[in-house]
Symmetry: C2
Subunit: 101 residues, 2 copies
């Protein structure tokens, strides 16, 4: 049932602009660019001057980092803690996509 709902292949293809990511996460655009500069998150901005687009995993990552920041962790510490979860998230993600449900 849920398989019909969320097509993981489709979800993973959804790209969201920085303005909309900012709206959804509550993190200012300026900060998102800063985090990308520091390689904390990544977007599909193709060096040669396009616009940044964020995928589901990166948006989820931003939200998780924000939560840890709110708890009082430093940025680096937050990122370290989030990395492991994101790693698993990515794995399950590609596993699901393989399955071709």
């Amino acid at each position: 049932m849920i398989e019909n709902l969320f097509d993981p292949k489709l979800v993973s293809q959804l790209l969201v602009s920085i303005g909309d990511v900012s709206d959804v996460t509550g993190i200012p655009q300026r900060k998102l660019r800063y985090w990308e500069d520091k390689s904390i998150i990544s977007s599909s901005s193709t060096k040669d001057g396009g616009t940044r687009k964020f995928d589901y995993v990166n948006i989820k990552k931003i939200i998780l980092i924000k939560e840890l920041l709110n708890e009082g962790y430093t940025l680096d510490a937050s990122v370290r803690k989030v990395e492991e979860r994101i790693k698993k998230l990515k794995e399950s993600f590609s596993a699901l996509q393989e399955k071709q449900i």
Copy 2:
């Protein structure tokens, strides 16, 4: 397990520009605007001149319509056939969001 993967609340908040929807679905931007004019799909373009943003359900709808068009259905017929599936999709969607998983 899957609950951790796809946060339905988050997925439903992802908004995608017309250019990216076009890339993902293979439907030209011009046609997407035409379909919206005909109320086949909808976007969050706030009349007062912003840019169109499509959500997951509408993107899924576009893909389903495209498939039926390829099978030879007329646009109207395709839409009619898709509506029922989309209705269920939306229901499950909000049900999941309520659950707050």
